[in-house]
Amino acid sequence: MPAIEENYDVVVVGAGHAGCEAALSCARLGLETIIFTVSVDSIAMMPCNPNIGGSSKGHLVREIDALGGQMGINIDKTFIQSKMLNKSKGPAVHSLRAQADKANYSMEMRKTLQETEHLTIRQAEVSEIITVPEEGAEDGHRLVGVKTVSGAIYHCKAAVLCTGTYLRARCLTGEMITYTGPNGLMAANHLTDSLIKHGIEMYRFKTGTPARVDKRSLDFSKMQEQKGDERVVPFSFTTDPEDVQIEQVSCWLTYTNPKTHEIIRANLDRSPIYAGIIEGTGPRYCPSIEDKVVKFADKEKHQIFIEPEGIHTNEMYVGGMSSSMPEDVQYEMYRTLPGMEHVKIVRNAYAIEYDCINPNQLYATLEFKKIRGLFSGGQFNGSSGYEEAACQGLVAGINAARSIQKKEPLVLDRSEAYIGVLIDDLVTKENHEPYRMMTSRAEYRLLLRQDNADLRLTKKGYEIGLISRERYEKVCEKERLIEQEIKRVDTVKIGASREVQALLESYGSIPLNTGTSLTELIRRPELDYWKLEPIDTGRPKLPYDVAEQVNIHIKYEGYIKRQKKQVESFKKLEKKKIPEHFNYDDVPSLRLEARQKLKTYQPVSIGQASRISGVSPADISVLLVYLEQLKYKRG
């Protein structure tokens, strides 16, 4: 039988959170796109925690939304509980987290894919990438297609690999090992070989997930109820806030105890990690319960969150207790928790090992340095988490499309977006474990708030073509209103009238001696923009999100200014570009280690070079001097 041959602009391999965003962005930009999955039923599956967002991940979702991605819209349609985290802290760390109805989330995303023009869904395992030597580039190749296990060939101009945890995956529960992807789905066992043949360096990572347990076997009276926010804030800037004020379900909090820890310690020799069976590197920040008990031996208890997996399932996720212990030990340890004495496990906890790449082989565009037209995103790039995956899929998809359309790639820097921080970290820093986004990774987080993601990125989304003109103009109008109101507030003089003093007093604020400006009053820690409304008679009626920006701008102006200064000095180094195919062997007196690192990473700017571990400030000076001389010579 002759093999199938088809032509597409873009091939996306994998239909998880990265693959969906990649495929949607390409198709929406008008490119004929095909997305491959080993199971059409597992599109946008959430194989681990049943929530989207959370500290710093919520930022990613909002940024995805502002750029025209799908994740925010999808979770707004399918969440069953929502919470703004860190509300007692500064606006930079407020973060939205929503519990998802997993089945619904997957279904909604599948519908979106199905309804998108130029997008074809195909269930098949891609086993090879097809390349041709790139003209004019030594050792370089260009992607021209992919091949599936059946031998079918799909010609394309670009491909995005989003294979998640499926490459040569194996799952471990104690002594029991299955060679499958998550949830018993088929692993993809062939693509790795093809990539290695193309000179791509592979890593092996592992991650894990806790058991799912039967809701009816739990005694919630022994746990603390965790309710959602009374007023829910949507993820997507396009969602009408009124549409998300739904009836929510609760999560539950319980704790481990010394008995739990004792059981774990007694059975460590049966844990595949501690028995040395697992070779992959796991995430430190998302440790299994075994890791926590070993590493933090002095902690008497750990928090465990029991979270619903959806409305139409009785499965509950045991958050904080991922494990690769054998199932008898799992039963034993879970049953030590208050409210779980009679727990019934629906699905075992397990660890999963999979192949991924060393992401230093990618440009910040997420294109392979060695293979033009080949992009990748998500766990394949060594990250972890749905949100991290989705934002990479989006960027990889956008850049795959733009490379075909011969347009400038989209690269966000560390001062523009968490997405920029994430990708820069991946492609620039040594990464030996699954990478998770964290607030602390973003140096300029006061500027990269979740509340201003639209102001930061909508314009880019519009220029790319994923944001409508109407939506973009709305953001411009919002910007204008904010600016205007900040100016107006600054001109409002407040006298020491009886009404003013009474208002101040009611908030425990020191009365005025002389007149002051409204701006000054807003800056007082105990006051804010809204509280001062009664004495601000000329105040225009403004939408909440405009007032919110005005308030933040005024209250934290000093900090914002200082942070902007930090950004300025950061940008200086980012702007110093290193020419493409720069030969580091030409630079005398670079240290050997630095020379090798620079050759491997091929940084695009001095700023990026300075972030490579093993490149010292000294090497940077040498490089700077050399580049300047080069520039000078060329006049």
Binding site: G90, Q303, K429, R591, P617, Y632
Partner: protein
């Protein structure tokens, strides 16, 4: 390619006789024309290259120094750019003034090594030489953790390292609490942080004080001697210098110009400027001197006010005392060998400063003067062995910036700001401190977080 014009003092800022101010760049000769008056009345820009010229440097109002100027047009100069070198004769203080004047007239201060960098960029140095320049830069940085740290001495770098580690610890604590609010509590943290930051600030203040000591030990205290005419200022200077330098006569107003002398007072360097007696005078020449003295007074680290005890306090004294009220000053009651017409009590009514009785002629009271200066300028215990201090201006500025940032942290705590705001200024402090010892930042942070705290999900 257009380059700006740079200038710097090319010789060591020490007590050597000649100091060279070097100017390089497209406008070097133009800048020189603005400040340099040739004896011949011609302009330097009209002169042929590689010639030497005699004349004066003036700042637009008055003459600063008598100088020799070397003119070298590019490309036959070290930097391959037009270069002018001004050989000054007036000692450290005057060299500084000449440089300042040059900077006011179109040049900017050169960065360290910038002349060499330009020589290199302009191809003045060939590839092999370039390599050695690179090696120099490389060496400087590669051993930054060793040699330049050695320069800072074990103690200072050790202290900065410690302080930095503590700042990092606080940043890491805040960050991990933000990343994992469910496991790490910030309850009561602000007051703990405040105590830590105040303790750290105290140590930086100590470093800064020591740094002043270091600067003073290295560069000297710029000192102005004032007093009404014939109060004995010049004799005092002579006593200190140990030779007849200033013209000493009994006629009031014979010190026409400002003299500068570097004096080593048992290890403390004084850059002394003796001034014409401050008094209202009709004598034009002397008036220039008086005016300048008032100006010097503004910039001086120390003012020594010489009172002639054999005469009554007069209008001149009152004027001087008025000028000194907010200055670092020591009052010397001179001529204590003669009959006294003015005593300490009278002075004290007008000026609350340390009073020391001396006789320039008899050389008495000098030890007490030295002790007073030492007390005033050298904070705490100062040893004169080879303990080295932070004397590098950039380092000092970084320390100061770190201190300022830490103060902002305390301010934030006082204002009741949420904890995540603290890290902006803590990070600034951390970076500033790091810039002194040449260390990078980010990886430390993340590693620190990982190594110390339990992260949940």
């Amino acid at each position: 390619m257009k380059t700006d014009t740079i200038a710097a003092v090319a010789t060591a800022m020490a007590g050597s006789g000649i100091g060279i101010v070097r100017i390089s760049g497209e406008e070097a000769i133009m800048v020189a024309d603005r400040v340099f008056q040739m004896k011949s009345g011609k302009k330097l820009s009209e002169m042929p290259t590689h010639t030497i010229h005699y004349g004066y440097v003036h700042d637009g109002e008055e003459v600063l120094d008598e100088v020799m100027v070397v003119l070298m047009r590019g490309p036959k100069s070290y930097t391959r750019e037009d270069t002018v070198e001004i050989d000054c004769h007036g000692g450290v203080y005057v060299v500084k003034r000449v440089l300042e004047t040059v900077l006011l007239h179109g040049a900017r201060l050169a960065e360290p090594g910038e002349f060499t960098k330009r020589a290199f960029l302009n191809g003045r140095i060939d590839l092999s030489q370039a390599e050695s320049v690179m090696d120099m830069i490389q060496a400087k940085n590669e051993f930054a953790l060793k040699s330049s740290l050695k320069q800072l001495t074990g103690f200072v770098s050790e202290t900065i390292r410690e302080i930095r580690a503590e700042v990092l610890h606080e940043i890491a604590y805040i960050e991990s609490a933000l990343d994992d609010p469910e496991h790490i509590s910030l309850e009561g943290y602000p007051s703990r942080l405040r105590a830590a930051v105040e303790e750290i600030s105290g140590r930086i203040e100590k470093l800064l004080a020591d740094s002043d000591n270091g600067r003073i030990l290295k560069e000297g205290i710029s000192t102005v001697i004032v007093g009404k005419p014939n109060a004995g200022k010049s004799s005092l200077l002579n006593t200190l210098v140990g030779e007849e330098r200033a013209i000493v006569t009994d006629i009031a107003g014979t010190t026409r110009d400002v003299l500068e002398e570097q004096i080593n007072l048992n290890g403390i360097l004084l850059n002394v400027i003796d001034t014409a007696g401050i008094r209202e005078t009709e004598d034009v020449v002397e008036k220039i001197g008086v005016q300048r003295a008032k100006e010097y007074l503004k910039d001086a680290d120390l003012v020594i006010y010489v009172v002639d005890t054999s005469t009554e306090l007069d209008e001149n004294d009152f004027q001087i005392m008025e000028l000194l009220s907010d200055r670092n000053a020591i009052i010397l009651m001179n001529k204590s060998d003669l009959e006294s017409k003015t005593d300490a009590a009278q002075i004290k009514k007008h000026l609350e400063k340390r009073i020391i009785s001396v006789s320039a002629k008899e050389r008495t009271g000098m030890d007490e003067l030295e002790a007073a200066i030492r007390e005033m300028f050298l904070h705490g215990q100062v040893s004169f062995d080879d303990e080295i201090f932070i004397t590098n201006v950039r380092h000092k500025a970084a320390l100061q910036a770190a201190l300022d940032s830490l103060r902002l942290v305390v301010q934030s705590i006082e204002d009741g700001m949420p904890e995540d705001f603290y890290s902006i200024d803590l990070m600034n402090a951390y970076e500033e401190l790091g810039s002194i010892i040449g260390e990078a930042v980010e990886d430390d942070l993340v590693n620190e977080i990982f190594s110390k705290f339990c992260m949940g999900k």
